[in-house]
């Protein structure tokens, strides 16, 4: 049995390598991981920016650059154009003996308060040397946004694995090889497992490589692999349902878009809903997978909670599989 499964896996891997699809699919999450690694420090900076004039005093510009991101402009009209753009950039221009704060008019109160405070502190001559504050640090190096992006990347990879299976089956259908399986010694179960293996292997390799690149090498790998593998059950199911249910690539593509709804919904629900409304997302296995990964990546996971998440992902995925099993079997017949 194992030999037959491996043969199907090898055949799929060979086809995918020939189309360079396999390389792309492993490579793209890795490239995204590199991207996250590089731009993550930028996203933890202060949300407010100052637009200042190039002909302002060097001392004033240097002072502000210690506290706020500063963009310089050669004229006041250029500065105003920048302030008018969609983000919260506040202008600071010399007027008389002081400075005028230029705002677009639709900024949040906190942005204007921050700008007023920074300018007041400059005018008062406040410097770090005179402070009555001290700062202590837990010396964490991974910002939560990076964890969120890494977690989203994991779900993208899992979705991608489903797509590989789905597109593979659509192509098998168009080549009429699905029917041919029924007259070979390969059983339907072996065929399902064999077809799924490529997605699982590719996804796990991508996930592990991406996490190592992003600096998560000291996480609990057993936990992440367990969550990954259980999430893959769902991937098999989705891939097969989509692949067998789609008569052509358009329908498979539409199916992918449909799967993105619960994935995005689960992430948004976990991140945005208050604690008392989190239960509304319990139906989604993606929610449990995202929650578990979030805890593992932020190194706050305990086995009790992770096991609850694993059971939830597995049970919901198996339920979906059992509901769709007759359809999958019919599609393979």
């Amino acid at each position: 049995m194992l030999k037959k499964i491996t043969r199907i896996f090898r055949k799929d891997a060979k086809i995918a390598t020939r189309d360079a699809m396999l390389i792309y699919i492993v490579l793209i999450p890795v490239l995204l991981a590199v991207g996250i690694l590089f731009f993550a420090p930028g996203v933890t900076d202060s949300a407010i920016k100052f637009a200042m004039l190039e002909n302002d005093t060097e001392e004033h510009i240097d002072y502000m650059e210690q506290y706020i991101q500063v963009e310089l402009f050669d004229s006041e009209s250029e500065l105003e154009r920048r302030v008018s753009k969609r983000d919260d950039v506040v202008g600071l221009v010399p007027r008389g003996n002081g400075y005028e704060i230029v705002v677009e008019g639709n900024e949040d109160e906190s942005v204007i308060d921050s700008a007023k405070t920074m300018n007041s502190l400059y005018e008062l001559g406040a410097t770090r040397e005179n402070t009555t504050a001290e700062i202590l640090s837990f010396e964490k190096t991974v910002p939560p946004l990076k964890t969120m992006l890494a977690n989203m990347l994991i779900l993208i990879v899992i979705m991608l694995a489903g797509m590989i299976i789905s597109l593979g089956i659509v192509e098998e259908k168009s080549d009429n090889t699905i029917n041919a399986i029924n007259v070979t010694p390969v059983s339907q179960n072996n065929f399902i497992i064999g077809k799924s293996m490529l997605g699982v292997v590719v996804a796990m390799v991508s996930i592990i490589a991406s996490l190592v690149i992003m600096g998560y090498s000291d996480i609990n790998w057993l936990m992440i692999i367990l969550v990954g593998v259980t999430s893959m059950i769902l991937t098999f199911v989705i891939g097969f349902i989509q692949g067998l249910g789609s008569s052509d690539v358009i329908e498979a593509a539409a199916g992918v878009k449909l799967v993105m709804v619960p994935i995005i919904g689960s992430i948004a629900g976990y991140e945005l809903l208050s604690d008392k409304w989190q239960w509304t997302m319990y139906w989604s296995p993606f929610y449990w997978a995202y929650k578990a990964n979030n805890m593992i990546l932020s190194k706050t996971a305990d086995w009790g909670t992770i096991l609850i998440c694993l059971v939830a992902v597995t049970v919901i995925s198996m339920l979906i599989y059992l509901i769709y099993m007759p359809k999958i079997r019919k599609g393979l017949s």
Partner: protein, 396 residues
Amino acid sequence: MKLLSTYLKEMKIASRGFYFYIEIFIAVLLLAVLLFVVEENPDSKFEEYLYFDMPQEVYEYMMEKDIASGKVRDGEVKELTMKPISFDVTNKDTGEVLSYDYTEEKKVDVKTIEKINTDTGLIKTTAYIFDNEEDAVRMSMSEGSIAATTTMNEIGELSYRYFQQGYETERFSNILYVLHTFSADEVNAQLDQQVIRSLGASERMNNREQVVPVFVVFAGSLMGFFIIMSYIYLDKDEGVIKAFAVTPSAVWKYLLSKSFVIITTVIISSSILVIPILKLKPDYLIFYIFLIITSFGFSALGLLVSSFFDSISKAFGVLYSIMIVLMLPGFSYYISSFDPLWIRFLPTYPVLQGFKGILLGQTDMVYVGSISLAFLLAGALLLSIANMRFKKSLTI
């Protein structure tokens, strides 16, 4: 006429397919989520853990003063659970390291105060007030929010200890230092003298409205790029393009009709979301013109890419890479501190900004006009290159 009849025929075929209805279903679903689940102006989820090391009467006086100013209000008492944890804290000024080790879980009831945005009445920050610094620090470590201790000495002077996570930027730490160099009264007096000049914008997208430009660009236009490729490969399998070689109709008309099908789908799905959420705010004429032109640009890109590959499997890697790269401006849209120069050169960046202005009814005509012109020219160029490639091979 041939173009029109080809378009109508393509629309008829598309309307029989699953994809067309999925587009509409997703737009309706998102609309329902936005209307019934997403709050227009939600409270902030930002939290901080505070400890006031001072006589109770001084703390109460300070709180009453803040509450009277309307900037703060009393919240509920909440039960917090602290997990077993061990960690080190490094003093950034002295280098001294403090070690904490907690082996037991602990539950504490803490008072909360809510810091209020006086303009909107929404909660800016929820602060948990602890009875001791250790618990505040322990929560800060496990939950990832900042902790702070305010200490008053014998002669009534205040000093502050902030507990940061460690990944904050140097600039952010510098602000915390410089904030505590003058007394609150001195800073407040200086704040009153600040001169603010507004450029006149008053509208700001609420939480619900902010989703709409992202949907229009990514789920609409950009998805059109993906779908047009799928259409082409489906037609290739069915030998449609070869049939064009023996008809009087030109290949470019076929390609353009495919773009029109995508544009029609995008117009329908975008309208389902835009009209109920934004109501009369947008400049609709400009919105639809901009939507048509940008969708045309993205679908022309899809046509060109599809001309290089024989099947969706072979095109998949390039397709996927382009889509991921073009989605990156979405991060910049939501995270304003992340706005590097390079991201502004990706075509989805100006399109997002353009749609945001149009949907808010604050269209920058020069900006939108120049982006439209660029997309129109680029789209026409990409389409003509795709046409040349398809004509040459006759095997889409």
